[in-house]
């Protein structure tokens, strides 16, 4: 075995750290962001017109089913966003990934906003369908807990004078909160809930008509692209703001040093 290979970092770690380079991230994100924003916007526009005007009414719910094209993608993204927050927290705790802390901090508010949309649109769907704006049903309650976890993470990472301690505390909270994701997913199977069970799963054929499935998939793809674009753009801004702070501090310390010398 050659001496260089014995001290070289593992390949996976090397790849991770290559993408963790803030300069590399700024270059890459600058290239992909316009594409993500525009494609996401086009997908969302097409899917919303499709869902609102073209897709058929449901035989049982009538036109109320049109809320599905906005409610379901936000419900998926509420959970997927939290999973990405937890992944960044894991990378931050295990590998001290330089961008992971910033990404986790920036995913939090977007995830909370998308979860709030899921709860609000669900409430607007529930009132005419169930006759109530809100019920303490297992699915609704577990999604509400997810919303509180997002709010807790937002508050915790900002609660310390030393940002690093805030990132660590937030990362631990995010990882503990992952337990809520399977509870959300299986709540409709484990408990007798008012909320309907899943119509689309990773295994098995979907139980909704293709004329409703396609606009729903378009909507999910579009909102996912927008979620990714918003969080990447926020992380990009955070990287630049961190660089501004370090440049200003370096400048201030240089001026202080000159003052002491003269």
């Amino acid at each position: 075995m050659d001496a260089r290979s014995s001290v070289a970092p593992p390949r996976s770690g090397k790849t991770l750290h290559r993408f963790a380079n803030p300069g590399q991230f700024l270059r890459l994100s600058g290239k992909i962001l316009p594409w993500l924003f525009w494609s996401g916007g086009i997908f969302v526009a097409v899917s919303l017109v499709w869902g609102l005007l073209i897709a058929p009414d449901d035989w049982q719910q009538g036109d109320m089913v049109r809320i599905m094209y906005v409610h379901v993608p936000f419900a998926w993204l509420a959970s997927a966003g939290y999973l990405s927050l937890a992944t960044c927290s894991f990378l931050s705790l295990v590998w001290r990934h330089p961008l992971a802390d910033l990404a986790a901090v920036e995913i939090g508010p977007v995830g909370a906003g998308f979860t709030a949309v899921c709860l609000a649109t669900g409430s607007l769907w529930g009132k005419p369908t169930w006759g109530a704006w809100w019920v303490w049903d297992a699915r609704l309650t577990s999604v509400f807990v997810l919303f509180l976890l997002y709010l807790g993470h937002i508050a915790l990472v900002r609660a310390f004078d030393d940002p690093t301690r805030g990132y660590r505390a937030g990362a631990i909270l995010a990882l503990v909160g992952v337990i809520n994701l399977p509870i959300i997913k299986f709540s409709v199977d484990w408990w007798n809930t008012l909320h309907q069970p899943a119509s689309i799963g990773l295994t098995g054929a979907p139980t909704i008509a293709a004329s409703m499935l396609w606009p729903l998939l378009f909507s999910a793809i579009g909102f996912t692209m927008l979620f990714a674009a918003i969080t990447i753009a926020r992380t990009r801004a955070a990287v630049m703001e961190r660089r501004i702070r370090s440049l200003l501090m370096a400048k201030a310390s240089a001026v202080g040093g000159e003052g002491r010398l003269s």
Binding site: G62, H71, L124, I230, A233
Partner: protein
Amino acid sequence: MTHLPYIVAAYAIAIGVPLYFTVAVLFRVRSASRRLAAIDTRRERGRT
């Protein structure tokens, strides 16, 4: 029976929230880029 008010409200929220995040982040990125460019320029001038 039409449920148009509920549907319109749901679509308005679903469009409004991502739109708010998009506009806010575009302003934030633009402001950060300008400030960074200004500081970097001053640093370059200081070196020469």
